[in-house]
Subunit: 324 residues, 2 copies
Amino acid sequence: MGEFELIARYFKRPVRRASLGVGDDCALLAPRPGMQLAVSSDMLVEGRHFFADVDPQALGHKALAVNLSDLAACGAEPLAFTLALALPQAHDAWLAAFARGLLALADAHGCELVGGDTTRGPLNICITVFGEVPTGQALLRSGAQVGDDLYVSGTLGDARLALEALQGRIALPADVLATARQRLERPTPRVALGLALRGLATSAIDLSDGLLGDVGHVLQASGVGASIQVEKAMELLASSAYQSSAGGQFEQDFWRRCVLAGGDDYELAFTAPPSARAAVAAAALQADTAVRRIGQIEAAAGLRVVDAAGHGLRLAFPSFDHFA
Amino acid sequence: MGEFELIARYFKRPVRRASLGVGDDCALLAPRPGMQLAVSSDMLVEGRHFFADVDPQALGHKALAVNLSDLAACGAEPLAFTLALALPQAHDAWLAAFARGLLALADAHGCELVGGDTTRGPLNICITVFGEVPTGQALLRSGAQVGDDLYVSGTLGDARLALEALQGRIALPADVLATARQRLERPTPRVALGLALRGLATSAIDLSDGLLGDVGHVLQASGVGASIQVEKAMELLASSAYQSSAGGQFEQDFWRRCVLAGGDDYELAFTAPPSARAAVAAAALQADTAVRRIGQIEAAAGLRVVDAAGHGLRLAFPSFDHFA
């Protein structure tokens, strides 16, 4: 199968929202009047972001999901994406499964594949995604205000739990691993929540490198500090049932690391004033996505993790950094 | 140097045309009213698109140039780009040189770096570029009409000549190699020509895989055929002075392969009706880019290469295909 046949077979589909899709030198997009185009690009590399033997359908899902998560964090509505793919070989079954996972998630969000590139090389997936957001309404990292509540959507920590098990550092019961692995390999981008938070959240970010590190970016961009109540944050752990039973074999520090610095969660962290609590609850309901209030924005710079008595904890969890 | 420091040091610059640049979950672009956004994405892989020891400044240039060439082929004006970069290590000197080459070309075209991604992995550069084109005025592959002239800009064949020498298959005098190597490593995207051809060319494509193969895409998309006069095409060879002297050591077939199927030229091939010849010449002058008429669009399907007497030549030059 040649390069052009490969594109035609798996990736060329008619477009409805874009003006021109796969097959020319460029794709053509026409954002609606009054809309800004939100753009994000993520690159996934074998051995860094996924294992060599990952299910290709899950990989197709995840490659787009992590990009949609960036749109969600901006409150942008998915519109289209490009896919650049380096492959060691063009294996029919692998490509068919990859395309199936990728395009199923794309279709679920009305996000069209409009172009890209294929080449031979070490497996590498680079997706650039486009979304629309009304001019001036994008959720940014820089808008957090002193006194705002700090929220996190969904659950945290399971992706890291699965990673630890898949890398052989811990052993998990099969059912616990299966659930956690779903979170690692098939994250759910919080697009509906991002849209519902427009005009409501003062800042937002998607959690890819770990809660503490990513919230740190918001604090830095906003010129503020924050405290996180560790007990509230630990309620975000999806595997808390396991933790409180057999999971007691792992130290408290292990579980805290999963939740506070696990990474690969693809949930949203966002801020909103206390006056908006009812509206935030309504937005979460509308988006069918649980949100939890875990802390407050404060004037003093830095991010403090405190216990129920308000005492600061000494934690040393590095945020994920590809070059640290 | 960590991932975020790396981005800040080399790739974070203030934006003027984009609404939001590097540093948030998404960049924000606001195409002007009446404009469509042209989008193209190209991935460059070590060992496929460049040698491991390539000058990083030239690589930075080329990575953006091949994308700007796609905008040129659509008649789009460069606006912004994202850069996703997988690196085995974060070497300061390498990154500084890469960024210098990349951003110099970006600045020359007013094309802003607005976002992207960095990760550790086998060297891989994925750029997605954005340009503006007035709605409905993009040059497409699908517009060639029977009777149109077929043109090519600039020169062809030198990139392939350099590649053959650098891969040790031929020996070239140092001055010939140096000139040819410039064409391989620092191609000039024909952006000004693409803009000047708006409303004039009936179709256009950028030449990345080789003249015959790429023109074949235009013919297929337009549902037409074409003939190319081999003598006219061979006048596109930049190294013709060398060819007619010492280059006589190589067979005619070698030179034809360089011009007709060499690849990596990043010139434009385009079509326009004979009635537009004076206008095309004026556009070329305005864009300060030579163009040459090398053939005609015909009703009979297929691409014929003919000699001066109109006899078809039997050539078997495959177009470059990463998976063939």
